[in-house]
C-alpha cells in the first residue's frame, strides 16, 4: 500500500507539473472503485433530472444569478442546455432554503434571499402542459385562451405545494405550530380548489397534491367527453377557470396568513420553458407583467428569439427596462486557456463542476483534477517555443503549410521583433499548423489525437453546461469500459480516445438536428454546408492567419437564413458574437455567428474564433446538401 501511495503521488505530481507523463498508471485499485459512481454523477446532464439535494449541491452560482432575487420581472434567455432550468429551479424557495444551509460564500445569495423574504415558486411547464395546449385545433381562440389559463392556474397551484412545506419549515420552528399551519392551509386551499366544503380528508400536502390531480383528471376526461359528443365546452368550469393567476395569488395569501410570512415578501413565479408557449400565451403573460401584480413577480425562462411578442392584451406593449429586464444565461466567455484569465469563466465553471461531481475520484486522498484527467491541448495551449530547436521546428512547419506572405512576415519579425513574432505569428499560427500537420500525416483510417486535452474539451462544450456534462460523461464511461476490460488506466486519457469521443458527440449533435422542430432539416443542411466550407477553406490552400470560423448574416438575407440562424442559436450550434447589435430578442438576426466548436473535429477546423464569411456566399459557393467535397468554392482567406 505504501508503494502504491508513493507511485500515485509521484504520478499525480508529475502530471500536475507538465502533463507529460502519458501512459503511466495511476493507482488503479483506488480509482476503479470510484469511477463508476462518478460516471453516474455525470450521466444526469440537465437540471430537471436532479433531486433537490443534488441540484443544490452541484449548483455553481453564476455571477449574475443573485440579481434575479429582486422585485423586477425577468426574462431569462438561454440556448438549450445553457442552464436556464437550473437557474429557475434554484430560485424556488425549497432550493434556496436548502442552499442557505450550505456553508461558504457561494451560497451567500441564498441566505440573503431568505433574509429579504424572496419566495420562488418553480413552475415546470412540462410536456403535459404544453402538449395538451397544442392538440385541440378545433377549439376557438377564446376556448384555447381559456384552456391555457386553466392549465397555468392549475400547474402554478400544484407548484406551490412543495413551497408550502419549505415556507413552513423556514418560518415556523415549533413542530406543533408547523402541523397546525399545514392543516389550516390544506383546509383553506382544498375548499377552494375542489369547490366543496366537504374536504375533511385533505389534511396533508400530499393529499392536497392528489386533490389537484383529481381535478385535472376530471377536467381532461370531461373535455374528451364533450368533444366526442359534440357538446358546447362553455359549460365546463371549475376553480382554475378563474382569472389567470388569481388562484396562485389567493394561495399566497393563505400561506402568508397561516405561516406568518411578512407582508413585504416578494413572491417569484418562475416559469420554465416558455419557448414552447405560443405568441398568444406570451401576450397573456405579458399583460400580467405589464400590470402591477402586488407582490408577485415573474421570472420566465425561454430560448433566444423565443420571447414571442412584446404585445399585451391592453393597448401598451411591455417594454424592456420598464416592465421587465432580459437576463442572458448564455453569455459566459469560453476562452479555455487557463482559469486565471479574465475571460476564462467557463473553464473555472467546468473545473468547479468536475470538482463537485467527481470529488470521490481520487488517489490516496489526492483528488483527481480535470486537468490531470484530460492533459494538455496541442491545438489550444500556448506552446512554449523558446529554444532555437523549438523555433526551427516551428519555422519548418510554417514554411510547409503557410502562404508566402505569412512566411515572409514571420521571418522578418523573428529577426527584428521577437515579441511581435510571438504575438502575431506564433500564438496565432501554432494550433493551425499542428492541426494541418496532423491532417496531412493522417494515413488511411488512422485516428487523430489533436482534439484532446482539458482546454479542447472545455472549448468544445461551447459554454454549454449540458454539452460539457455529455462530454465528461462519455469520457468517464470510457474509463469504466477500460476498467471492465481489465486494461490498465493511464492519465491523462489517451488523446486518440478523447478525439474520438468529441467527434462522436459532434456527429450525433449534427445528425439529431434533422428531427428537431420546427426547421431541423434546413438547419442540418446549412450547418453541414458551413462545416464543409470551413473544412475546405482550412485544408485547400496554404494557411494565413485569417482562416474562417464564423458566418456573417444580414437581416435581409431571407427567411430561410433567419430560420436557420435562430434555430442553430437556440440549439447552441451557433454562438452570436458579443458585438452583435441587440434590437430585442425577436428582431431579425444580424451580425457574426460562430460555428460551435463541438463541430471542429468533425469538419477538421481549428477550435478558435477567427475570420467570418458571409453566409449567402458560403451557401452559393457550395452545393448545399452535398456532404462531400464542394463543387465550387470562392474563398477569400
Amino acid at each position: 500500500m505504501v508503494a502504491k501511495n508513493a507511485l500515485s503521488k509521484e504520478i499525480i505530481s508529475s502530471v500536475a507539473k507538465n502533463n507529460s507523463h502519458r501512459g503511466k498508471l495511476i493507482d488503479n485499485i483506488d480509482a476503479s472503485e470510484k469511477v463508476t459512481s462518478v460516471a453516474k454523477e455525470f450521466e444526469v446532464d440537465n437540471a430537471k433530472q436532479l433531486t433537490v439535494e443534488k441540484t443544490v449541491r452541484y449548483f455553481v452560482p453564476p455571477e449574475n444569478f443573485a440579481r434575479l432575487f429582486s422585485g423586477k420581472n425577468h426574462i431569462l434567455l438561454g440556448s438549450r442546455g445553457s442552464g436556464k432550468t437550473t437557474w429557475v429551479r434554484m430560485l424556488a424557495h425549497d432550493h434556496v432554503y436548502l442552499a442557505s444551509k450550505q456553508l461558504g460564500i457561494a451560497n451567500k445569495y441564498a441566505r440573503d434571499a431568505l433574509d429579504n423574504n424572496f419566495i420562488g415558486i418553480y413552475v415546470p411547464t412540462n410536456i403535459g402542459l404544453i402538449g395538451s395546449l397544442k392538440n385541440k385545433p378545433w377549439q376557438s381562440e377564446a376556448h384555447a385562451e381559456q384552456f391555457f389559463q386553466w392549465r397555468l392556474n392549475l400547474h402554478s397551484c400544484a407548484a406551490l405545494i412543495p413551497i408550502i412545506r419549505s415556507c413552513i419549515d423556514c418560518y415556523i420552528s415549533d413542530p406543533y405550530e408547523r402541523t397546525i399551519a399545514e392543516l389550516s392551509i390544506c383546509k383553506d386551499l382544498s375548499k377552494f380548489w375542489s369547490r366543496s366544503d366537504n374536504v375533511r380528508d385533505i389534511k396533508t400536502l400530499e393529499a392536497l397534491r392528489l386533490l389537484i390531480a383529481t381535478v385535472e383528471t376530471k377536467r381532461v376526461d370531461e373535455i374528451s367527453r364533450y368533444r366526442a359528443r359534440g357538446l358546447p365546452m362553455d359549460e365546463l368550469n371549475d376553480y382554475f377557470d378563474s382569472e389567470l393567476f388569481h388562484p396562485i395569488k389567493y394561495g399566497i395569501q393563505v400561506i402568508t396568513y397561516h405561516v406568518g410570512i411578512p407582508k413585504e415578501a416578494v413572491w417569484m413565479l418562475c416559469i420554465d420553458e416558455a419557448e414552447y408557449l405560443t405568441e398568444a400565451h406570451h401576450r397573456i403573460i405579458n399583460t400580467h407583467m405589464r400590470t402591477a401584480s402586488e407582490n408577485l413577480v415573474f421570472k420566465i425562462a425561454t430560448m433566444p428569439f423565443a420571447h414571442h411578442t412584446m404585445a399585451t392584451n391592453a393597448d401598451d406593449p411591455v417594454r424592456e427596462g420598464h416592465d421587465f429586464d432580459y437576463v442572458y444565461v448564455d453569455q459566459v466567455p469560453i476562452d479555455s486557456r487557463g482559469a486565471g484569465k479574465e475571460d476564462a469563466a467557463f473553464l473555472r465553471f467546468a473545473r468547479d463542476v468536475f470538482k463537485r461531481r467527481a470529488n470521490s475520484l481520487s488517489s490516496n486522498g489526492v483528488p483527481l483534477t480535470m486537468q490531470q484527467m484530460l492533459g494538455p491541448s496541442p491545438l489550444i495551449d500556448e506552446k512554449s517555443v523558446e529554444s532555437r530547436e523549438d523555433i526551427n521546428d516551428f519555422m519548418l512547419l510554417l514554411e510547409k503549410y503557410s502562404n508566402e506572405a505569412t512566411c515572409i512576415r514571420a521571418r522578418r519579425l523573428l529577426s527584428y521583433d521577437p515579441r511581435k513574432f510571438r504575438n502575431e505569428i506564433l500564438r496565432k499560427m501554432h494550433g493551425a499548423l499542428i492541426l494541418r500537420d496532423a491532417l496531412h500525416q493522417r494515413v488511411g483510417n488512422s485516428k487523430l489525437g489533436v482534439y484532446s486535452g482539458e482546454a479542447t474539451i472545455v472549448r468544445c462544450s461551447d459554454g454549454n453546461a449540458r454539452r460539457l456534462m455529455r462530454l465528461l460523461n462519455a469520457l468517464l464511461k470510457k474509463i469504466v469500459h477500460i476498467q471492465e476490460s481489465k486494461e490498465p488506466i493511464s492519465y491523462p486519457l489517451s488523446p486518440v480516445v478523447q478525439n474520438e469521443i468529441i467527434e462522436t458527440i459532434a456527429r450525433d449533435a449534427l445528425n439529431r438536428v434533422q428531427s428537431e422542430p420546427p426547421h431541423g432539416v434546413l438547419t442540418h443542411k446549412y450547418l453541414s454546408t458551413v462545416g464543409n466550407y470551413m473544412k475546405f477553406a482550412f485544408r485547400s490552400k496554404k494557411l494565413g492567419t485569417d482562416f474562417v470560423s464564423s458566418i456573417i448574416v444580414h437581416r435581409d438575407d431571407g427567411l430561410q437564413i433567419q430560420q436557420f440562424v435562430k434555430q442553430a442559436v437556440q440549439l447552441s450550434l451557433l454562438t452570436p458574437s458579443r458585438d452583435n447589435a441587440h434590437d430585442g430578442p425577436n428582431a431579425p438576426c444580424e451580425g457574426v455567428f460562430h460555428l460551435a466548436f463541438i463541430f471542429s473535429p468533425l469538419f477538421g477546423f481549428l477550435p478558435r474564433r477567427n475570420k467570418a464569411q458571409r453566409l449567402p456566399k458560403i451557401l452559393n459557393s457550395l452545393s448545399v446538401g452535398d456532404d462531400d467535397e464542394p463543387k465550387q468554392a470562392v474563398l477569400e482567406i
Binding site: 392538440n135 378545433w138 383528471t217 374528451s224
Partner: protein, 312 residues
C-alpha cells in the same frame, strides 16, 4: 362506455353482415390495401375510407384510392388535420345510430393510419352511449420497408387528444419509449422531455431477433440511459397490453409518466389501451414528415385485436 377487454384473434370475421362498419385508410404504402383485399363480400354493412390531405400523388396512393373506390364503392373521406376527430366522430355517430340497444361492431385497419385517427376512434367508443357493447377489431398488417428512411422532421410534439393524463405538480418525468428505427426523431423527443427515468419497449420475436438488435443499436443513446428494456410481441397486442400494464402499474406515481410510442403501430395501439386503463398516463405524438417517403409492403403477418367496450 368502459374499456373491458382486449383479445387476440386469428382470423378476420367473415360471417354475413358481421361488421356494422369497416374503416380503412388510403395511404401511399402498398400495404394500405392488404387487409381490404381479405375482407369477405357481405361480411359488413357499411364502409368508410379515410384519406390523407397530403401525399395524394405519392408512391401507391392513387392506386390505393382507386382500389378502395372500386371495391367498396365509396368516396375517400379526406381528413384534415384541424378537424379530423370531429369528422371521425360524425362518421361513427351516423353509422352507429341503428345499433342503439345492440352491439356495434367495427373493423379498423390501422396499418396505414396516423395514430390520432385510431386514438379518436377509441375516444368515441369510450364516450359512446346507448349500446349493449361496442366491439372493435383493430387489424394491422405488419410491414416491410423497402429502403432506409430519412429522419422524421418533427413539426410538433403534442399529447394525443384524449390521452393527456395527469401532469400538474410533478417536478420529474418518467418516460416509456416505444423504440423503432427512427433514431433521431426519438432523440428529439427525448431532448424535449428530458426525462428523469427511462424505460424502453422493443418488438422482439425471439432472443436473437435481428430487427430487435437493429432497433437497440439505432437507439443506443436512449437504451444506455434507460433502466429497463421491455420486450413485446410485434403482433399480439393483447399480450403487449398485458406486459405494458404490469410494468406501468408498478411505477411510482410521484412523477409525470409519459409514454412515447415511436415503434410499430401495434405497440402504439397497446399503449393507447394501457392509457385507457391507467388514465394518469400521458401519451405523446411527434407530428412530422419525411422528405422521401418509403414504400412499405405487407409481410403477410396480421395482428387482429378485438377491443370491447361495455356500458359503465
Amino acid at each position: 362506455m368502459r374499456f373491458r377487454t382486449i383479445e387476440s384473434k386469428d382470423e378476420i370475421e367473415s360471417s354475413e353482415k358481421h361488421y356494422s362498419l369497416l374503416i380503412f385508410a388510403s395511404g401511399f404504402e402498398k400495404r394500405s390495401i392488404f387487409v381490404a383485399n381479405r375482407i369477405a363480400n357481405g361480411s359488413f354493412q357499411e364502409c368508410s375510407v379515410f384519406g390523407f390531405s397530403d401525399d395524394s400523388d405519392t408512391l401507391s396512393r392513387r392506386d390505393n384510392d382507386k382500389f378502395f373506390k372500386e371495391k367498396f364503392n365509396v368516396p375517400i373521406t379526406i381528413l384534415h388535420d384541424d378537424a379530423h376527430d370531429q369528422r371521425i366522430f360524425k362518421i361513427l355517430d351516423d353509422a352507429s345510430k341503428k345499433y342503439i340497444g345492440a352491439t356495434f361492431r367495427v373493423l379498423v385497419d390501422y396499418s396505414a393510419m396516423t395514430r390520432t385517427w385510431y386514438a379518436a376512434i377509441l375516444t368515441w367508443a369510450r364516450f359512446a352511449v346507448g349500446f349493449n357493447s361496442v366491439e372493435i377489431d383493430f387489424i394491422y398488417a405488419a410491414g416491410q420497408y423497402l429502403s432506409e428512411f430519412d429522419p422524421l422532421a418533427i413539426s410538433e410534439i403534442e399529447c394525443l387528444p384524449g390521452f393527456e393524463g395527469v401532469s400538474g405538480g410533478f417536478r420529474s418525468t418518467t418516460a416509456i419509449f416505444g423504440l423503432g428505427y427512427d433514431r433521431y426523431a426519438t432523440l428529439a423527443v427525448y431532448d424535449r422531455l428530458e426525462p428523469d427515468a427511462i424505460y424502453c419497449c422493443i418488438a422482439r420475436k425471439s432472443a436473437d431477433d435481428p430487427n430487435a438488435f437493429k432497433v437497440l443499436t439505432e437507439n443506443d443513446v436512449i437504451v444506455d440511459a434507460s433502466s429497463k428494456i421491455v420486450s413485446l410481441p410485434l403482433t399480439d397486442v393483447s399480450e403487449a397490453f398485458r406486459i405494458l400494464c404490469d410494468h406501468v402499474i408498478s411505477l411510482e406515481r410521484d412523477s409525470h409518466i409519459v409514454i412515447v410510442p415511436m415503434g410499430p403501430k401495434s405497440h402504439v395501439l397497446a399503449t393507447l389501451l394501457v392509457a385507457l386503463r391507467l388514465p394518469w398516463l400521458t401519451c405523446l405524438h411527434a407530428r412530422g414528415q419525411r422528405i422521401s417517403p418509403v414504400q412499405v409492403l405487407a409481410t403477410g403477418a396480421l395482428s387482429i385485436s378485438r377491443v370491447s367496450f361495455v356500458p359503465d
